[in-house]
Amino acid sequence: MVSQTVTLQGHIIDSLILAKVLDTIVMLGGTFTLSEVAIGTKREDLSHATIRIEAPTPGLLQDILTAIQPHGAVVETEQDCTVTPAPADGILPEDFHATSHLPTQIRYQGTWLDVLQTEMDLAIIVTSSPPSASMIPMGSVKKGDLVVVGREGIRVFPLERPAERDVFGFMEAQVSSERPYRHVIGDVAKRMQAIKERRTNNPLTPKVLFAGGPAIVHAGGREALSWIIQEGYIHVLFCGNALAAHDMEANLYGTSLGYNLGAGRSVPHGHEHHLRTINRIRAIGSIQQAVEQGIITEGIMAACVDQQVHMVLAGTIRDDGPLPEVITDSIQAQEGMRAALPGVKLALLVASTLHAVATGNLLPASVPTVCVDINPAVPTKLSDRGSFQAVGLVMDSSSFLRELARELGWKG
């Protein structure tokens, strides 16, 4: 598919010139998007339209342009983007272009290039042979990298309305504690089932990402989440030290942060359980080994190891231990999370402000995202990113996970 933007000016509405140009595009086999129409406010004012034309082949696009130019369509002159070498490692040139989480193209050496991956708040670098463009975090830029600056030669595409007519299809990032949530959970389950069915051995096979906090364990969602993972519905897990520690504490001691999960009472010396758990895993060497050696026998971590879920554990300054897999350098943790994203087609962000926001910042707007938190501030924070396919649910994580698991066939 090739495209070209044209503009049309004049008394184009009541003279039917705009209608004629649009009809001509379609009759010749192209499609169009009216990206802007400004109608004159007084009768003598000129109106203005910007039309993006798409055609299956360059030849057909040329035919369309030839046909509409006599009616006043002006081919928008296109410029290459400007690039400037990075002045030092980790430093971007002044006026660097800051990315959004929408699909982006740059024009370089006369050609529009898709910018690989999509993430907000990064910069774009280009390479000449072969010509390619990719997004890069500020800290990863190397001295001399050619960084896109200014606004010329860059285009950002709005998301197309997805074909699916489910809760994500409305493309409205609403958050409310007063919305019925059953149909949302039903739609999430349908998406998860569809992704599971489409999975192959290809590394870019579709994936479901789950980012979660320790409240899942405290609140009683552990059993349901473990089942969901064990059934192969989750393929990437982002969490911190605490979710893993309390999950394994539950397995080893039957408590979460010292509270007996069955009786709901604190047990004597229970506050030490998570420390003893972390210490034990550190002694074994890794969560993976603890599961493989049969020390950890069930729960979220056990299911993840069993199902070969790609886990990224990111540390914080309040962590105890931490567990051996926890990445304590936050830039490295961010890199680890970023590397796990290709192929993610659905993201569930449950009961964790830190991991939900961090994950939300890394995801392209095109990935349907559900954010579940008992605190409305978290889904609101997410929806403020302008995610078009984000749904916020203000509810208890355990209720969400149990309901979701039941939709997927859990009998618990």
Partner: protein, 266 residues
């Protein structure tokens, strides 16, 4: 009193072929052309009471007689034509000089757009139609609309025989309009029909369109048109207009008639 600009046909003749009507082999008769042109001036001056002004004819410029193509004049401003054909581009200087001499503010269009004056731009007090595709570029109308603060509706001309808008469309006083629908594309036909009150729109029959019935001059209720257009005359009479047929066949050989031979001055 209405004022019109005309140019005596001293050097008029068919010296080149730039429209389907012109055949160098079908030469005009100089004497007959002068007689017909004078008859037109008589009708305009004596029967209708128009004030005529005349510009100096120039040797080697046979079409200077068609003053409608000089440019467009409105409220003291003149936008001179930029002719598509080199044969007529030599006329531009003469028209510009005349406008400047008469005290008009002369405003030139961007050089990249062709525009053939009142031959392609005509209409009602509220808005104008702009013919495009044959001789004038649609893009010229954006600029003209801004210069004159007028709404201009571009209409596409699709028949080479009706190469200027004034050969196939004639706005009349009181909101009436003569036109030959087949000279326009389907969109333009709709636009014209939508902008004229029903009953005031007359589709000239094909045989009379070829006589240039639409190339008429309307001054108040008077309409000067070529002879041989009985149906158009009957409709005009029925609508309360006073038709004045004038024999102008010598000018039809160049693709022009009453309207082409005059330029409204205001």
């Amino acid at each position: 009193m209405s004022r019109l600009l005309m140019c005596p046909p001293d050097y008029y003749g068919i010296e080149y072929e730039i429209n389907p009507w012109m055949r160098v082999s079908n030469q005009s008769n100089g004497n007959r052309a002068r007689t017909q042109w004078q008859a037109l001036t008589q009708v305009l001056e004596k029967e209708i009471g128009v004030k005529l002004e005349f510009m100096e004819p120039a040797p080697g410029l046979p079409d200077l007689v068609f003053t409608a193509n000089a440019g467009v004049l409105h409220e003291g401003r003149a936008v001179p034509s930029r002719f598509r054909h080199p044969e007529r581009q030599r006329e531009e200087r003469h028209f510009i000089d005349w406008f400047a001499e008469k005290g008009y503010e002369v405003i030139s269009l961007d050089a990249e757009w062709d525009f053939e004056g009142a031959g392609d731009l005509l209409g009602f007090p509220e808005f104008w139609f702009g013919g495009y595709r044959q001789r004038s570029d649609i893009r010229a109308y954006d600029q003209l609309s801004t210069i004159f603060s007028k709404r201009i509706l571009p209409v596409e001309l699709v028949d080479q025989r009706f190469y200027h808008l004034d050969t196939c469309l004639c706005p009349l006083s009181g909101g009436g309009l003569l036109y030959f629908p087949h000279a326009f594309d389907a969109y333009a036909q709709k636009v014209i029909a939508a902008h004229v009150e029903q009953g005031k729109l007359f589709a000239v029959p094909s045989s009379e369109s070829e006589r240039f019935a639409c190339n008429a001059v309307c001054v108040d209720r008077h309409v000067v048109l070529p002879t041989g257009c009985p149906e158009t005359m009957a409709w005009l009479t029925q609508q309360g207009y006073i038709p004045h047929p004038v024999e102008l066949d010598e000018f039809l050989k160049a693709g022009g008639s009453a309207k082409c031979l005059t330029l409204a001055l205001d």
